[in-house]
Symmetry: D2
Subunit: 378 residues, 4 copies
């Protein structure tokens, strides 16, 4: 309840902070009989690792995933909850001391002030504690489990950088995106745009500043029918999940905010029949009607704010005396977290889709018995 | 679980559809000893009533709220859940027959197709059933209860039309907005802009089409500390609530999508001290840091798509034969639902804030005992 | 969260008190396409009606159930939540005044003291408010919906009086119980024992006192596999549901407390094969192994305390002055609530079973896709 | 949802099985600023360790608790979720092979059959997997955290063996129980009765059999007001928690099943005033009125069935061919789990009480603002 669990049937519960002993996730709702290896988790964790290019923080995070629960003697899942542990390894005393030196200052754009209000003097001042981006290790590890289950359902989710520094990637097909989105350090599938974005990001970085961007998430193969009417629309669950990622300031689906400027006749996606199945000529709805999936690709975008840690001196508050103070420039930082946040978006969307799928199957199972019974076959 | 409850401690559970016997809401988490009258609920319901101007559907909905549970003999709340009933009254057989005539067609932009996938032949084809905007009666009635409780906490929430047809209201102070936002049928506080928007909307309406817009919600007086880290950030709960409203395609907080184009040094809100309290010079964060409120106004916007019902013929599918068909122009409709959706946004944000407030108080209560104990006063 | 919802996927949310406008239940998780009539709800409500014999309170409760939401124009369910309203009708001013006269006294065995602690002066003093047995109207109405769904699954649940005043019904077959349990006002299927119990109850009643008993619940046709390991065992969910009924002081399954006196070799139910299916020669387990159903009848018993309202003067407290006081004998009362509590037990067990069934179907759906995929058919 | 979380605000989520890499618990709802050491967790874990006397299985479980998340650099809690890991160490290949040899047989009284139904061939056959008593390591570790928080609230919970082999401990005061209950290997505070019980248990053990008993739990210092009316009565939450422990077949509060044989005038606990506070002369209610605590000790008992593993040959089923088979006598086993299950009962009751306390504080916080406002102080 106090915020460390996401999902209703398929659910991930996480713990851990940036300078503690480790980060763990307990994944409930893993079917039995499934191959699930440390390497499958590692593959996703590696996507969010810093230090992969000059866009990222030079911090070394050699995260090693260990599945310690939920598998039987043959190595397959058993239906028991899966437990995954990732130890924190890069925690040198020198870094702790660096944080200790500025722990009396609220860093602009960070959550220290609100954590201080909430937890008093006892909040974790070291490396942003639970408010650190390291918290997402648990999300990504849990999402990696969801990914394996969704693969059996032929559901694919990919996220990539759509826009940065005001430069947008051109519209591309799913296949093209999938093929190219990890070809450059920014994870933007449009190589030409990516080059421009990277140049601009480095320019900003050299000026001591940071930038953000827009990440688009596409889910392909999602069957029609997922999501519950009214409060638990799948679109709403996904918005919840994505908005819960630190640095995300907006979420939109399909045409999103542009829909607010369209006319009805233009925004409505015209249906047609293709091979006996209902399809839609456009996808302004982003794959959702009434919050329930319609069988088209899910299209979701999220706005990522610029990294708050900058190499420029900033106004701050000294909380010991509640007086103005200055925070010195900080050098170790991500120029933008866009290239590292996309696997987190994938994890949240996968978790939400799988959770909705469970509810859909629950419903179908009971519904089918009713229908059979009405037809006299019961 | 199947989607008809919102909130964790303060929670609203709704039922009812557009052509059933009535719409009800059960509100759990209402403190005892509070005056709560039918008129208080009615005031909010009246805001979402159609037929208030030529912008709305001419449908008459004389919704009358009746509190039937949760109050004692003296008329005050008792701590028991509050039950509110609103009977459906404008359900003439002629309208049912109009819906029956087109029930084999999927209306573009509506949820019929996905409801059909989910519930089969048994989905409610009359007036959009549970997917109708009438479902929001329960939300607004529940939110009216939250409003009364929040008043005791000096928390105010207002929503208004910020943009329509590409025309934006100018930036205004909270007081100015509050004073003027209900002065015109569009509920846009900038009278000059409202005039232009209304002219444009009527032009679109006369062309048989519809439009959407952007609704901004401001919450004032929210104490710092609300919201739980990681998955249950208050910003995420609000995004969930707003995205669950039919027709909403995007949600953003503070600078929102514009933050994706800012630099870090520009996006960070500089803190300062005012009368011993931490304040922020700008509010790009929209009142949230790490998803927890920082004491500044909460600023949230949602994108509302144009009403899907248009007076133009459209492509459709005849579900009896799964073949293309044409849907004739429909005359009874809202030119835009912006002026009627804002009380729903208020209701959802109030519900989310009050729910977070309960958790905050839960936390404080237990935390304080620990702190006292550590200080040797336990 | 504050206690008015039961169930996870199939869930009932209730409101209403003994002297308010009405009692309602919102039932989430009702499949589409099912016939559901007011008469089906009424049949169950009638079971808990008082005044059916000299064992009950003479209070007249002509509860009339109205389904006001969740059905389409053809009268079938649509998949939307079902709303049911029961108006309070027997609320004469004279009764309100009777309660008002003693509202300063805590009635022994009733919940007034704890409600006073919790809600202060504002607790509902009239007819026990939300702590009244009338609260169970919502449970029974919700359980009546579950009953109809379970019928499609060929699951039957019956509850009956197994023991009262120290007299026990003999062991009988399910068929015999089903045939006879409603043949007498006590709802005890053993006619001979029932006669003795009734004589004893009337004797106690004439002495101004009251008594309790043991109600046994049997569920037949429950498929093996329901219930989730660890915390959400179906046996635990049922214990939760039954212990939440006012007046229930104990719950046991299968051999129950007697198991504490057995030896392992005696308590273990020996398995055997019958028509290719695993069966058990005894049912000390009560149909649960590891909290998951094993295909045998579920056997559950609950202890019902004697009605606290007695026709004898009792010690009390005057809360206005927090001083001892005497509570006069009360004449209008149930000699025992055993004959009226059994439909509530049925409702709770049905709700819990159906809820577990939904989760089971959710699991199977996802699990099957994994298994098919492992077998190369995916 | 699939059963690995207990609690609503204060909640424990566990994973791990008897022959996996380890058992972990994530504890959400831990206040900030609290000392929490590995030794505090260890103390509770040591209570459930086997091999402490000839009553237990000789299995060695040198469980070492490691708190790996939720504490800051000073070692105090930070408000972040606490993560605790206990590695499985006594897993010799020879034991795995012993289980493998009989994995085709359903062991009577164990959960293999239902796990097979639920998870198919993929269920964990080694050491009972997630259905093993080892699962309770996570509960006890989580409960140890609750214990530390409850200490600040001056709430104490103790559980002890009240009855075994038909022999009961005499009634004793809380102080006497607390002083003596861990003085013998059975954890029965009545030394004389304990001696008799132990003699009887060893006799049964020598005959190759096992036995159960009754464990009583007393909670002292619980303030009046905990628990929510209707479905979430604290008594119901506790029944849920205790019935979820493997081997528990019944739960009763206060007079429990004996109340079913009492008269109303005898069962009602007469209230009186002591030092200005409402007290009760008897405690047949077990500290609950309307499911809400009344300030008296909470008295709860649970029935523990005999250990199903016996040193006698038993009927079984060979699941490979679905034919009858015989299961040979098993030598390594607990004669009774009563002396090892009591810390699990303590953990569940502590978790449930703390969770209810959070909700109570949430309620009080919001309620107080309303009351102040009504009084014109708002």
């Amino acid at each position: 309840m106090l915020g460390n669990t996401f999902g209703r049937i398929f659910r991930i519960t996480t713990c851990g902070e940036s300078y503690g002993g480790g980060l763990a996730v307990i994944v409930d709702g893993v079917p039995a009989g499934m191959e699930l290896t440390n390497a499958m988790i590692q593959e996703e964790l590696d996507k969010r690792k810093p230090g992969q290019s000059e866009l990222d923080s030079p911090r070394k995070e050699t995260d090693i995933a260990e599945i310690f629960a939920g598998r039987g003697q043959e190595g397959l899942t058993t239906g028991a909850p899966v437990g995954i542990m990732v130890r924190n390894v890069d925690m040198q005393p020198i870094h702790v001391e660096q944080y200790r030196k500025v722990k009396h200052l609220f860093r602009p754009g960070h959550a220290e002030y609100t954590f201080f209000v909430k937890y008093g003097e006892y909040y974790d001042w070291c490396g942003a504690g639970r408010a650190s981006g390291r918290e997402t290790v648990g999300r990504v590890a849990g999402g990696a489990v969801a990914k394996q289950i969704l693969l059996r359902e032929k559901i694919e989710v990919i996220a990539y950088v759509k826009e940065s520094c005001g430069i947008s990637a051109r519209d591309m097909s799913f296949e093209e995106i999938k093929k190219n989105y990890r070809a450059n350090p920014l994870n933007c599938p449009d190589g030409e745009a990516a080059e421009k974005m990277i140049a601009k990001i480095l320019e900003i970085k050299n000026a001591g500043d940071t930038c953000g961007g827009v990440v688009e998430i596409i889910a392909r193969g999602v069957p029609a029918g997922l999501g519950e009417p009214v409060f638990d629309k799948l679109s709403a669950m996904i918005a919840h999940g994505l908005m819960s990622i630190g640095a995300v300031k907006g979420v939109e689906i399909g045409a999103g905010f542009a829909a607010a400027r369209m006319r009805g006749s233009e925004c409505n996606d015209p249906p047609y029949i293709e091979k006996g199945r209902v399809r839609f000529r456009t996808n302004n709805a982003g794959g959702f009607m009434g919050g329930i999936t319609n069988g088209e690709d899910l299209i979701i975008r999220m706005a990522v704010k610029p990294t708050p840690t900058v190499s420029l001196e900033q106004d701050s508050i000294d909380k010991r005396v509640m007086k103005p103070a200055r925070l010195a420039a900080i050098t170790r930082r991500d120029a933008t977290i866009c290239p590292r946040i996309y696997p987190v978006a994938e994890a949240m969307v996968r978790t939400a889709i799988l959770d909705a799928l469970y509810l859909w199957r629950a419903w179908q199972g009971v519904q089918n018995a009713v229908v059979r019974s009405e037809m006299g076959d019961g």
